[in-house]
């Protein structure tokens, strides 16, 4: 019988001794010696070759054999020769990746390691960003494992790597060194410019300087974060500078001509020109971020939220923010942005309307009506509702309890500074199925995995503290981000799929409620257990733009039951057409999201826009069901021929009648062309059930 060896690419090949002999001879020659037939036989006699042996194992044996025969110099040469080849192979694999990336259909499909890049294009800049990703992953794992070993011992570190490799858990944004995302307070900038974070700009003193400086500041902050940068005070500060320029009643005189140039611009035109400058600049791809644009979020508030968050707020000159003018500016920005999106695909800012609720309805009726009006006009944004202004959602994936609504003259409003330092996600579908295979209760296994995840996050936190102590994190030191208000996040993926596996019907029924509460309850229990001074945990259902696809693929390969190619980011099956709109709100209602302290978003997919009265009623539905974070998603149509954008979901361009159309939709939290998603994500977008009316 012939002996087979396994090559590095996994292929089998008939074993021949000649290749080994040639490599040994070369090593002898390179060391200035010559291997006689007798010497060769002596060395080869040490080898033990069996069918199925790998090339690496044979080479290991050759090294040992050379040393056993006393040829140490030759062994060294042989090892160096092996190492050179290993380096060649790595370069070759990078080259192959490079060629593959160039040929991929889009940037998300080409990215091998972390496709959640908000990158529209595929070019040399994005390629440069892709190449070191593997190195970052290795570096991050090493940093984390070293720390885990010091804090909890080798066993825990090994368990972490093993769970990662087996895809029970997923470390989000492992291709970046920076902490994840943050909602910042801009007060330090208002006091001292960007000097404290390494810039050279002094504090803004007028509207022009504010808008220009704001763009630079957001770029600087984003370069020190791996995820989103939220500026919940953007419009409030802008309002302050407009008032300084045109008076506190500017909004009552918006048509007044204030520009002495031949353009004769009105106050309104001046303001919208600044909107344009800020929004278009921030949507630019950024050199320092590998052509990713920054991920920018802003918030709008109703009167009650405003009073709760900024009631005590004072600008450095002692001025109070004014609700009436800010309210006008918020509405003006939304209306402007909605219209502007007909001209150009503008992804950022992701906007969240924060509304306080009372007795099953929005408390500030004016803002409830305005929110419904904006949805009816086709604007796409998130709404966050709460019956207590004790929490705020500042980002498409982050809901945070406000621990301090106070104001200080050095840090500004306490409520807005928050964020997530790091996200580590559990693959529930695999955990539940694995537990079943092993004959252990899934609750026990989930608890074991989640417990380890907390230890890993604590280790991450220590590393971050060390970086900070070395002066590497100026955002924290200068007060833009308060490290004490940053969460360590346990992400959840594959929840629906794990319930399906257990034979639980995915609808509002007691068994499913109990399952969701049990699983998320385990996480919350441990979040509380590991809570300590300066260490807070939260739990969120992560938007599965990328992880959901990977987990489904890996689980399928390993023989687990995988009902769809991308694990859900919702509490219902994304393609389920039997659930009506109210069922969907209910499945993202209080019973289900109770333990999701870090948030989840209902993306209510509709085929057509509703009337203002209907959206207004759905705000009541959300309040009654306790669904605190949602958006309505109606695919917008963009024509590939003439570029016309229409807010409706159409098969044909209404302008040039071409059927070569693409859609803009909100899968990840921000609007993006469907064709810019990676292939698996596009499948999900196509399958997604749009409630027909």
């Amino acid at each position: 019988m012939e002996t087979y060896i396994v090559k590095r690419d996994g292929k089998h090949e008939v074993f021949t001794i000649d290749k080994i002999k040639a490599a040994i001879s070369k090593s002898f020659l390179a060391s200035g010696a010559f291997a006689t037939e007798e010497v060769m036989t002596g060395i080869l006699s040490h080898l033990n070759i069996q069918s199925g042996i790998s090339v690496e194992e044979i080479q290991n044996q050759v090294e040992v054999a050379l040393m056993a025969e006393g040829y140490y110099q030759v062994a060294k040469t042989y090892m160096l020769y092996r190492n050179r080849h290993a380096e060649d192979r790595e370069t070759k694999s990078k080259l192959e990746f490079l060629m593959g990336y160039c040929q991929a259909a889009n940037a998300a499909e080409g990215s091998k390691f972390d496709a959640n890049a908000n990158v529209e294009n595929k070019n040399i800049a994005t390629l440069i960003g892709e190449l070191p990703k593997k190195g970052f992953i290795r570096l991050n794992r090493r940093l984390l494992c070293d720390r885990i070993r010091t804090m909890f011992g080798k066993e825990v570190a090994d368990k972490y790597i093993s769970l990662l490799h087996q895809h029970f858990i997923y470390k989000n944004d492992e291709t970046n060194l920076a902490n994840y995302c943050a909602s910042i307070t801009m007060y330090p900038w208002l006091l001292g410019g960007t000097k404290s974070i390494g810039g050279n700009a002094t504090q803004p003193t007028n509207l022009k300087a504010f808008c220009g400086g704001f763009i630079n500041m957001v770029f600087m902050v984003s370069s020190m974060l791996s995820g989103a940068c939220a500026t919940p005070e953007f419009l409030m500060y802008m309002n302050y500078f407009i008032e300084k320029e045109y008076g506190e009643d500017y909004y009552k005189r918006a048509d007044e001509i204030v520009d002495l140039s031949i353009k004769k611009r009105s106050i309104d035109k001046v303001i919208t020109d600044y909107f344009q400058q800020v929004v278009y600049s921030i949507n630019q791809p950024t050199g320092a971020r590998n052509f990713q644009s920054v991920f920018w979020n802003i918030s709008y508030y109703d009167r009650y939220y405003f009073e709760s968050l900024f009631g005590e707020f004072r600008f450095p000159d002692g001025e109070k923010p004014h609700w009436e003018s800010l309210s006008w500016l918020q509405k003006r920005f939304m209306k402007w942005f909605n219209q502007e999106r007909l001209r150009c695909v503008l992804t950022f800012p992701v906007e969240t309307m924060a509304l306080l609720t009372e007795n099953g309805d929005v408390k500030d009726k004016e803002y409830g009506d305005f929110t419904a009006e904006m949805y009816a006009e086709g604007h796409s944004f998130f709404t966050y509702i709460s019956d207590n202004a004790d929490s705020l959602s500042s980002c498409c994936r982050l809901r945070n309890a406000i621990t301090d609504n106070g104001f200080s003259y050095t840090l500004g409003a306490g409520g807005v500074s928050t964020g997530s330092k790091s996200v580590l996600t559990i693959n529930l579908n695999r955990c539940v199925q694995y537990a079943q295979r092993m004959g252990i209760p899934y609750q026990n296994y989930i608890e074991e995995v989640v417990d380890l995840m907390h230890k890993v996050q604590l280790a991450y936190n220590e590393n971050l503290k060390e970086l900070q102590s070395k002066g590497m994190l100026p955002l924290f030191d200068s007060g833009y981000i308060n490290i004490g208000r940053q969460y360590l996040t346990i992400g959840v993926n594959g929840l629906v799929e794990s319930a399906e596996f257990l034979g639980i019907e995915i609808s509002d029924n007691p068994r499913y409620t109990e399952y969701v509460q049990t699983v998320l309850g385990i996480i919350e229990k441990l979040n509380k257990h590991y809570h300590s001074k300066g260490v807070m945990f939260n739990c969120e259902m992560i938007p599965a733009e990328n992880v959901g696809v990977k987990n489904a693929k890996w689980d399928k390969e390993d023989g687990y039951v995988v009902p769809r190619d991308c694990y859900n980011s919702y509490f219902y099956k994304v393609e389920d057409s039997t659930l009506n709109v109210i069922d969907r709100f209910r499945l993202h209602g209080v019973k289900y999201i109770e333990h999701l302290t870090g948030g989840s978003a209902l993306h209510c997919n509709l085929e057509e826009h509703l009337s203002k009265a209907q959206y207004r009623q759905l705000l009541r539905v959300a309040a009654q069901e306790g669904c605190n974070y949602f958006t309505f998603n109606i695919p917008n149509t963009i024509c590939n021929e003439c570029g016309n954008i229409d807010k409706r979901y159409l098969k044909e361009c209404p302008h040039c009648h071409s059927t070569n159309v693409d859609y803009l939709t909100r899968i990840i939290g921000y609007m993006k062309r469907v064709s810019n998603f990676s292939a698996a994500r596009q499948v999900e977008a196509a399958k997604r059930y749009y409630a027909t009316m």
């Binding site: 109210i582 009623q617 759905l618 009654q624 409706r648």
Partner: protein, 153 residues
């Protein structure tokens, strides 16, 4: 009277968030009917318990309940509509008949659609439709058929 299915709909009754009850055993047999399944004797009996169960589940979230069909037993539609009204929710009725039945009571309904489906004239959004949708307010019926047309493009 039997119910084949239900759904939450937005287009059938303008401006309302509607729980639509799709009633089977339709006697009208319009050629080109968009849901011929509803001509069959399928589904479950829509009695008080069934209706109360649905109102329990969706009543506090919807603004209107719409009876889709039910021309076999119009009196029963009126009776159940009153029960919906008693829960403080508006009512609508999609009848496939040209004429309203003798038992029709304006106070039981807030919206009523009349007229069979005639393929050549099209459904409500079609400008040539024979069907008519009325809003009933203070004992007066206002034709609101045109409101189905405005948004299409």
């Amino acid at each position: 009277m039997k119910i084949a299915s239900y759904d939450i709909v937005f287009q059938d009754v303008p401006g309302e968030v509607t729980l639509s009850l799709n009633l089977s055993q339709c006697p009208n047999r319009c050629p080109g009917c968009h849901s011929p399944l509803l001509q069959d004797d399928i589904g479950l009996l829509l009695d008080d318990d069934m209706l109360d169960g649905l109102l329990d589940r969706y009543g506090h979230d919807v603004t209107c309940v719409c009876f889709m069909g039910g021309d076999r037993e119009p009196g029963e539609v009126m009776r159940l509509a009153d029960r919906v009204h008693a829960a403080g929710i508006k009512t609508a009725w999609y009848s496939g008949r040209q004429e309203l039945p003798e038992c029709f009571r304006m106070e039981s309904l807030d919206y009523v659609k009349v007229g069979p489906y005639i393929e050549s004239m099209g459904p409500l959004p079609n400008p040539n439709t024979n069907q008519r949708m009325y809003r009933i307010e203070n004992g007066e019926m206002t034709d609101i058929t045109a409101s189905f047309r405005k948004k299409k493009g």
